[in-house]
């Protein structure tokens, strides 16, 4: 594919159903009412010159290049701001228009440097293009007048290079405001403004440099800039790409579509793709810019093995490594039994890779000891939504948010963790939707530019179920139930039981106030607002799931939504915001120990036989070990070998010391990853993985959208991850043979009813597709449960509030909760190896001034955080976003050891760890914690790679 230039229609598409027909330059064109003349012209195949218009933002009408003539009207209206009307006759070219346009360009160029040949945007500059289009040959004003480009000019402002990824060169700015508008309309951050007026007008990041400003480095301004004023540093360095590869971002669960712009096999830049169903051309700092880790020097490119973890690694051939791993697994199974090994699939890998790993475990190892990192994030979502609604997935497509009147955001921090979707939310909120936030912290969404939550229910960590029950109590007791909806769609008996339970006085907001700490009146107000809708949607994240009652809370939300009739159409629903790129897919692909792809229980004979038949092997009908169970079994001595693909269990799972003890108890730990991650410190075999840019496959995002991942370059490690799993399986004696991941998808489609219609061909044609995709829905299913619930009747589940056993005591009087930040991703393996560190170089402990004062802690002090599981030290940050009694940290840096402190408590139904509630004490520290000191040494010892002297 050559370099892909998407058509820019100039103004956004109109959503009107009504059509108008008009005539543009003699061509008849029919467009939806509300379409601009500019867009209609593009539809008619006529392009009108423009500079300030681009179709990702509303018409602005400032550049005055797009003027046209309309028969029967005076003057020369701008085609971007003039709407098509039936029977209009529009002329886009005339001598008068040509003269005006040339005159406008002459003015533009009179204040623009003439360094085209050496300019970073050379070859991709709209100003240059327009000068060409209007035939500008002379600037009669000369260049000695007032200007912004001459260094001697009082108006000259030097280049701002503060952002690590792009530069801002005011001298080249044409003040079209596209960046300012992109920041407002596309991103919703309002970091940029036009400073001064008239000829003084200058784009400014609020009067400071970009890095110090509110800018979140999403790249929308860079993309919007028609000149080189805002431009990627990578383009400045390398030049323009020559071909594009459309692929899917490998960061969060939004699943943005990107164009990788390439020079040969080297990426020049990643540009969000306009046709991306999830992102519609928007991006965040991670997907847009933080791809440098793919070529980071830390990447391991050769397979390695070692006998003991204290040995240095020895680089070996692929064959040797695979054979070694296989023989070790066989040895262990022979010695300790078939169930003594297992594996972990990754939510960061493709569907095809995940599918192969669980297949290898079920068919190759012959047990069901497969699990995935979704265990530690969204396993309660699967359990809860399946139990109540019948599908282990969110109900909506992302775009549904544009029809939402009331957003209920629970335990999620979208602006940091799902920034691109957060932009859609913000745009809807700015347009007037109401917002309820349930979160112990004052997340950004509670109060940000032009947005203020109508309710912020700042509850104590661990009391979600108390909160959801009291919200439901208000619905039930104040006559706010959607009676007709319930009668028609839900199970009567279950509903009646639930209603009687919820109506109990113990579930009232007043009674629960002592648990949640939230004034009952606020809870009542929020409940009424949610019930009123008309379209109310729940969006939630790990603040819901990562609790001892994570599954209960998921069911509680589904109950609430059903009770108010808020499932089954646009604008409503219960929507998990998935943490990683392929959490949904990893779950869909049968990574969990108790279910096959498509969420079918291993004990179901018909399903098992289907797989036995397809895979040609007898399968185990009992569920296997879940990740925490594997650790327990390892410590107990019955679990001895593990194959870990793309997950860093050592850093990401709770109670690190327990995990590391478990890993240390195993005889064969095989890690497949890009880097020598924390888990690899305990590994015996290291299989280098490849990045998303180096392989084909698919990711499934939080809205069930299956999007293609396309190979932009050959695997730097020599093998794609699916090939590695295949080789290992073959070496284990269970043959697998696929020529291409598309064949794996074909197998998945054959064996999984909800994927029946999915194929690479369809993905190429449609761009992406949302499952279920089958004969009933060949083009996929953006909204679930439209004509009734997947499970038949909606199932109300009784959600008793059972307080967690993790309680504050005199010794551990504070609650620690954890979360993410925008610039870093998860365990940080990727983002820490990019310039994103300028925003977040270390994890800090946030605490309320009151708690800090009490302990004599000042901002920046080194503090120790101690729980009954362990102790770490971090630097403190005093923050009023916290409520007193609650402290917070992120977990992006391995050396922080956030999970040294978290405990083994977990969700009762799924064992999803209770990361969000840990009782701790915080005090001033003089030095780093013992654990950190020890770990630092351990890391040096266990990550040595074969020195020539030690050799063989």
């Amino acid at each position: 594919m050559a370099l892909l230039h998407e058509i820019d229609y100039g103004t956004p598409a109109s959503r009107s159903q009504q059509l108008v027909t008009l005539d543009i330059d003699g061509k008849s064109v029919t467009v939806p009412a509300g379409t601009s003349l500019m867009r209609a012209a593009v539809e008619a195949g006529v392009s009108v010159p423009k500079l300030c218009a681009t179709d990702s933002m509303d018409a602005f009408g400032s550049c005055r290049l797009c003027l046209v003539e309309v028969e029967g009207r005076r003057g020369t209206p701008a085609s971007c701001t003039t709407l098509a009307e039936p029977g209009m006759k529009v002329k886009t070219q005339s001598p008068k228009l040509a003269k005006l346009r040339k005159g406008v360009m002459e003015l533009y160029i009179s204040d623009h440097p003439l360094d085209c040949l050496t300019c970073g945007a050379n070859g991709n500059c709209e100003l240059q293009d327009m000068a060409g289009v209007v035939g500008l040959r002379d600037v009669r004003y000369g260049y000695d007048g007032d200007n912004h480009f001459n260094k001697q000019s009082a108006r000259f402002v030097d280049k701002d290079n503060s952002n690590p990824y792009f530069s801002f060169e005011p001298a080249k700015c044409i003040a079209c405001s596209r960046c300012v508008r992109a920041c407002e309309e596309v991103q919703g951050t309002f970091a940029l403004t036009i400073q001064g007026r008239g000829f003084d007008s200058m784009v400014s990041a609020g009067g400071m440099d970009f890095l110090d400003s509110e800018c979140v480095s999403c790249g929308a301004c860079v993309q919007a800039c028609p000149t080189a004023t805002l431009i990627e540093k990578s383009v400045l360095e390398k030049g323009q790409g020559e071909h594009s590869v459309i692929t899917t971002c490998a960061y969060c669960g939004v699943g943005c579509s990107f164009k990788a712009e390439m020079q040969g096999s080297e990426v020049v830049r990643m540009v969000p793709y306009k046709d991306g169903g999830a992102n519609h051309g928007h991006s965040c700092v991670k997907g847009r810019f933080a791809w440098g880790y793919t070529t980071h020097k830390d990447r391991i490119l050769n397979p390695m093995i070692r006998a003991k973890i204290t040995d240095p690694w020895k680089e070996v051939s692929w064959d040797e490594a695979i054979q070694h791993a296989a023989s070790e697994f066989k040895r262990i199974q022979a010695k300790y039994g078939k169930d003594s090994v297992g594996g972990i699939t990754s939510s960061r890998c493709t569907n095809e890779e995940t599918y192969l790993v669980q297949k290898l475990i079920r068919a190759g190892f012959g047990n069901n000891n497969t699990d995935t990192c979704a265990r530690v994030c969204h396993s309660p979502t699967g359990y809860g939504l399946k139990t109540t609604l019948g599908t282990s997935a969110g109900t909506q497509t992302f775009d549904s948010v544009y029809d939402t009147d009331v957003m209920l955001v629970i335990g999620a921090n979208p602006t940091d963790a799902h920034p691109v979707f957060a932009s859609s939310m913000k745009s809807r909120l700015i347009a007037g939707a109401k917002l309820i936030v349930i979160d112990p912290r004052e997340i950004d969404l509670v109060k940000t530019a032009h947005i203020k939550a109508d309710f912020h229910l700042q509850l104590r960590p661990g009391t979600n179920v108390a909160m959801i029950n009291s919200l439901a109590h208000v619905i039930v007791t104040e006559g706010l139930l959607a009676d007709e909806y319930i009668a028609e769609r839900c199970d009567d008996a279950a509903f009646n039981k639930w209603r009687d339970f919820i109506a109990l006085p113990k579930n009232s907001p007043e009674a629960m106030e002592s648990a949640t700490g939230v004034p009952a009146e606020l809870v009542r107000g929020a409940a009424r607002l949610y019930a009123k809708g008309p379209n109310s949607a729940i969006y939630y994240g790990l603040g819901v799931t990562e609790h001892s009652q994570g599954s209960t809370m998921v069911m509680g939300m589904a109950n609430l939504a059903m009770a108010c009739g808020q499932i089954g159409r646009m604008g409503v629903g219960v929507n998990p915001l998935r943490g990683q790129n392929n959490v949904q897919g990893a779950c869909d692909m049968g990574s969990f120990p108790h279910e096959y792809p498509g969420y079918r229980h291993v004990s179901d004979d018909a399903t098992r036989e289907l797989f036995e038949h397809a895979w040609g092997v007898k399968l185990e009908k009992e569920p296997g070990l879940r990740i925490p169970n594997m650790f327990d079994a390892a410590v107990e001595g019955t679990f001895k070998g593990i194959y870990v693909q793309g997950e860093d269990i050592s850093q990401s799972d709770p109670n690190t010391q327990h995990v590391q003890k478990a890993l240390g108890s195993m005889e064969c730990v095989v890690v497949q990853d890009l880097f020598l991650n924390e888990t690899a410190m305990w590994a015996h075999v290291f299989l280098p993985g490849c990045s998303f840019l180096e392989k084909d496959g698919t990711f499934t995002n939080a809205e069930r959208r299956i999007s293609p991942v396309r190979k932009a370059m050959a695997p730097k490690n020599g093998m794609a991850d699916w090939e590695i799993t295949m080789a290992l399986s073959n070496a284990l004696g269970y043959p697998m043979h696929y020529n291409h991941p598309s064949e794996i998808m074909d197998e998945i489609a054959r064996l999984t009813p909800t994927f029946k219609g999915v194929s690479y061909k369809k993905l190429d044609e449609m761009g992406s597709v949302q499952w279920p995709c089958n004969d009933a829905a060949p083009e996929g299913t953006p909204i679930m449960h439209i004509n009734g619930f997947v499970r038949g009747k909606g199932n109300f589940v009784i959600t008793e509030f059972v307080p967690t056993d993790e309680r504050v005591t005199g010794k551990f009087p504070l609650i620690l909760t954890t979360g993410r930040i925008l610039s870093q991703y998860n365990v940080g393996a990727q983002t820490r190896r990019t310039e994103n560190n300028v925003w977040h170089a270390e994890d800090k402990l946030d605490l309320h001034p009151h708690d800090a004062e009490h302990r004599g802690i000042r901002d920046g002090d080194l503090v120790s955080i101690q729980s009954r599981a362990g102790e770490i030290t971090l630097n403190a940050r005093i923050s009023e976003r916290m409520q007193p009694g609650v402290v917070y940290t992120t977990f992006h840096h391995a050396m922080s050891g956030a999970n040294v402190v978290t405990t083994e408590f977990s969700d009762w139904a799924t064992n999803c760890p209770e990361y969000k509630v840990t009782a701790v004490e915080v005090r001033l520290a003089k030095k780093e914690s013992d654990w950190q000191q020890h770990y630092r040494e351990q890391r040096v010892l266990t990550t040595r790679i074969g020195s020539p002297v030690a050799g063989d």
């Binding site: 296997g624 879940r626 169970n629 009762w908």
Partner: protein, 63 residues
């Protein structure tokens, strides 16, 4: 193990007793690996001192 089992019981405890026992038993069957169930049986055999009453009842149905 005991903590996990008791948590399951507590979360079903608001259901009528008979129904609750059924839910607990099904949950243990659907999600617990045989090794864990074996530990449970062994613990009950030793008296099951710390176990929630619903778990004890459910355990009987798993045999």
């Amino acid at each position: 193990m005991v903590h996990m089992a008791n948590q399951i019981a507590l979360n079903f405890s608001a259901y009528p007793r008979e129904e609750a026992i059924g839910h607990v038993a099904k949950h243990l069957k659907d999600f617990w690996e045989p090794r864990m169930r074996k530990q449970l049986h062994a613990y009950v055999a030793q008296g099951g001192a710390e176990l929630h009453e619903l778990v004890k009842e459910a355990e009987k149905r798993l045999k």
